[in-house]
């Protein structure tokens, strides 16, 4: 006994089961990320002065990651098209490329995460705030590289555009001086200290939640696609049509993951 329309389209709906299944699943995913986006907007518009830092993420890296994901989206649809053209070798090539792209994306993302987790925010007893990368830590002091200093009430990760431009100018003139020097801070001068993890403030919280959930989708999708690239591809010999459908369906999921990133990138990195 076989459930009908697992392979062939049902004539009146023009769809096979998994196709409608994945679209329904994606609809629920839209609501999932939609709810996260609304949370983002609500938290952002109700944020008080100094509670929502901007321009903290590395735009070039984010851009590269966007391009990687877009590339993977093309390769995954090309993989499907290759199967339609009966070209299994090409399919293997494109599908493999997709998995590699996914891995690159996750690697870059984890590098970015590490970068944030090692970035420390320190409130000094004198009411100033310093943030920078932790390079050394002893029981008496810590050392931050690339430190920036500003009044504590400006809020975590304060990056006024002016400060930015000054920094760029300084760099253009053969490197900014005080910015690049490491800063040693005695623990006794520190009132409060945290790193830029999700606990640092609401911006980081939503940043890590959104990208983390997205990364889980990337990893899940990559596992499925790696399976279809490897052991799962044996089905091509037995039932090419069903295998092509599977590639199409997993591809649809992958495009959705790409699509989410297309929105995540501007709202988290650029705005």
């Amino acid at each position: 006994m076989e459930v009908p329309y697992t392979v062939k389209n049902r004539p009146d709906t023009g769809l096979y089961n998994a196709k409608i299944g994945i679209w329904l699943f994606l609809a629920s995913e839209v609501m999932l990320f939609g709810a996260l986006f609304s949370s983002y907007i609500l938290l952002r518009v109700t944020a008080q002065e100094g509670e929502w830092p901007t321009e903290l993420l590395n735009v070039p890296i984010g851009t590269v990651n966007t391009l990687v994901l877009i590339l993977s989206s093309v390769t995954v649809v090309m993989a499907w098209a290759s199967l339609k053209l009966n070209n299994f070798k090409k399919f293997k090539f494109y599908q493999g490329l997709t998995v590699i792209c996914a891995m690159i994306f996750v690697m870059i993302k984890s590098y970015e995460y590490r970068d944030k987790f090692t970035h420390h925010d320190v409130i000094l007893t004198n009411g100033m705030r310093v943030d920078g990368h932790l390079v050394e830590e002893t029981s008496e002091y810590i050392v931050l590289s690339h430190p920036l200093e500003y009044p504590a009430e400006k809020g975590i990760g304060y990056r006024p555009t002016a400060l930015h431009e000054a920094e760029e100018e300084a760099n253009a003139h053969g490197g900014g001086h005080h910015h690049t020097e490491d800063r040693k801070i005695m623990l006794s001068d520190i009132e409060k200290r945290t790193n830029w993890g999700p606990w640092a403030n609401t911006y980081f919280a939503i940043y890590f939640t959104l990208t983390g959930l997205h990364a889980l989708h990337v990893i899940g999708g990559a596992l499925v696609m790696a399976y279809f690239w490897g052991p799962g591809s044996r089905m091509w010999k037995k039932n090419p049509e069903q295998f092509t459908n599977r590639i199409e369906v997993s591809g649809l999921f992958w495009h959705f993951v790409d699509l989410v990133w297309i929105f995540l990138f501007p709202i988290l990195y650029l705005l």
Partner: protein, 615 residues
């Protein structure tokens, strides 16, 4: 089912492994890891009935505390003390100072309350109404051999079970289960020290995932696997109801999943999604702040309101099947039913903030939500009216399923109409969070939905087992349940209007006139006394289920056998199968020629015309 036939019919390629189906698959494969929609339906059914019993047990304990605050629990007091060590409060004899028993502590009352709500909604009624009935009946009614994704179906059930076990597991951890109500509002939920909240959140994420998979499966099945000739307007109303329900689950649950995930982050990763700046609670030092407690409420009620239609639509579906069958008449206004259901589905997504009138909403937005709330009552009234008119002029068979289905109509009517005052913000300010609300939604879910589901059990039982349940004990069950149900919930309206708040372990005694002789608005004695009546009515209601439980199991082997495969002389396809339906359901692939309710067609030889027969 003959495999060559299947091949011809479905035209799908079969791989070589086919034909092994006929081996005996063994107990595990057949009952635990089954992919057959009927077995999965039964699994869901039994599990959710057990959860319902657990939910009832919790409220039984709570009701004791409400009626007799501080008095030792009879019978189970010391047992409870053994299992929930440290959460019960020992009661000493005031004179001799001897231990005379255990009462539940206020914390335990809160835990039980939260778990009663959660278990009843997410682990009992929804799985029973949607997953159990849907799984068993929908594929049969549309003439399919199974669900569209049988293995996914199995996974849904296993996830559901896992989620349920995690939820129950929280009873056995130090600190006990979640205490912040079934709504788990932050920051309260985040700041209560028990890890039960963590269990609650994880369990909810698992249960939601299970429901999402189930919803995908149902929609795909109904769209793709309808038998030839089963057009949309020939679909039995039950299938329509399940179809819309599945959409509600599919699109409303993800925001709650987000709500739960963010609260999980607040608990485990130290974020402040729901924790505002300047929050000062001793158990929560050092939060970064900047979050919004209202965000949680929005995410929760975005699911919460569609959820009530998830609870009620399948029940309406069951009731309309039974009414059509037992009045031997077509349902009056089939199309109005279908369109009302669709409208209901749509509107249910834009009324949610009527649960939040007291959060300091502005007038414009609350006007919007009051308006949509009033509009959404229209399709519900249309549905109820259609079902009432369907009775007109029928020669009604008053068997047990029909009695329960008939009782559903006025009971749901009371539940629905008492909701209107809650939909206006000015009356809701008085009624919010009182026993009036408890009375209102219990009328919807308990004598409403649960009656309908019990009707469904009596109705489809002969198809599952080939035997009827006892009519006599069915009627005993019905009349006792009907009387005690009303005695339980009716007085709550009065208590609520008198201002008695919900979620109080002492049932309002702390606010009574006796304890506050000079206070204005203290709770008068006559309302407080009702607590005792309600409690005993609830216990009697519980006892009234004993004939049902015995009947349910006894009749499997000892009930009266059915005379034919279609003992109720029904039109819909689930009765045109062998009894019980084998793996694959139909002996010959069904073709559909008629609408779902062709009863008493003028000039026909018999008073019903099955959907798979030309009239």
């Amino acid at each position: 089912m003959d495999s060559t036939e299947a091949k011809e019919h479905h035209g799908a390629e079969h791989d070589a492994g086919h034909g092994h189906d006929h081996h005996d698959p063994g107990f595990m494969r057949k009952y635990i890891f089954s992919t057959d929609h009927k077995i999965i339906g039964i699994q869901y059914g039994l599990t959710s009935l057990l959860f319902m019993l657990a939910g009832f047990f919790l409220i039984a304990v709570m009701r004791w505390s409400i009626a007799f605050p501080g008095e030792p629990l009879p019978v189970i007091g010391s047992l409870l003390n053994t299992f929930m060590a440290g959460m019960t409060s020992p009661v000493l004899d005031p004179e001799t100072n001897e231990l005379i028993g255990y009462a539940i502590s206020n914390d335990l009352y809160n835990s039980f309350g939260a778990m009663h709500g959660t278990i009843m909604v997410f682990l009992a009624v929804v799985p029973l109404a949607f997953a159990a009935f849907g799984n068993y009946v929908v594929p049969l009614q549309i003439g399919a051999i199974d669900m569209a994704f049988p293995r996914l179906n199995m996974a849904s059930y296993h996830l559901f079970l896992l989620g349920g076990l995690v939820m129950l597991g929280s009873f056995f951890i130090p600190g006990g289960p979640a205490q912040a109500g079934w709504t788990s509002y932050s920051p309260l939920a985040t700041s209560i020290p028990t890890d039960g909240q963590l269990y609650w959140l994880i369990a909810m994420v698992i249960i939601i995932t299970s429901s999402l998979l189930g919803a995908v499966n149902f929609i795909a099945t109904i769209i793709q696997l309808r038998a030839p000739g089963m057009t949309w307007m020939r679909l039995p109303f039950f299938c329509w109801a399940q179809f819309v329900t599945a959409f509600l689950l599919l699109l409303a649950f993800p925001p709650l999943e987000v709500g739960a995930l963010l609260q999980l982050m607040d608990r485990v990763a130290g974020t402040s999604f729901y924790l505002p700046t300047g929050l000062a609670i001793s158990s929560m030092q050092d939060v970064s702040g900047g979050g919004s407690p209202l965000l949680y409420q929005h995410l929760f009620w975005f699911l919460g309101h569609p959820e009530v239609y998830v609870l009620i639509l399948p029940a309406m579906g069951v009731v309309s099947e039974i009414i059509a069958n037992n009045t031997r008449k077509p349902i009056w206004g089939y199309k109005s039913l279908v369109y009302s259901t669709l409208v209901l589905g749509f509107l249910s997504f834009i009324v949610w903030a009527h649960h939040m009138y007291l959060t300091g909403m502005g007038t414009k937005i609350s006007t919007f939500f009051q308006t949509t709330t009033m509009i959404i009552s229209i399709p519900s009234v249309i549905i109820l009216t259609c079902l009432f008119i369907s009775l007109w002029g029928g020669s009604i068979r008053f068997n047990t399923p029909m009695l329960f289905a008939l009782a559903f109509l006025p009971m749901f009517g009371i539940g629905g109409l008492t909701g209107l005052p809650l939909g206006f913000n000015y009356s809701d300010i008085h009624l919010h969070d009182t026993y009036y609300v408890i009375g209102h939604f219990h009328y919807v879910v308990a004598p409403g939905t649960i009656f309908a589901l019990i009707a469904g059990i009596y109705f489809w039982y002969p198809k599952l087992t080939g035997r009827y349940m006892s009519e006599f004990w069915g009627k005993v069950h019905f009349w006792c349940s009907f009387v005690f149900m009303n005695l339980t919930f009716q007085p709550m309206f009065a208590q609520g209007m008198a201002g008695m708040e919900r979620r109080m372990a002492d049932g309002g005694a702390g606010y009574s006139v006796a304890n506050n002789p000079d206070a204005i608005g203290a709770l008068a004695d006559q309302f407080l006394k009702l607590n005792v009546n309600i409690t005993f009515a609830a216990y009697a209601l519980g006892l009234s289920q004993i004939p049902f439980i015995i009947n349910l199991f006894y009749s499997i082997s000892k009930g009266r056998s059915v005379e034919s495969d279609n003992p109720w002389q029904s039109t819909t396809l689930e009765w045109q199968t062998p009894t019980p339906p084998p793996h694959g359901n139909f002996t010959t692939p069904p073709k559909v020629f008629a609408g779902p309710y062709e009863y008493s067609v003028p000039g026909a030889a018999q008073d019903y015309n099955p959907q798979n027969q030309k009239s």
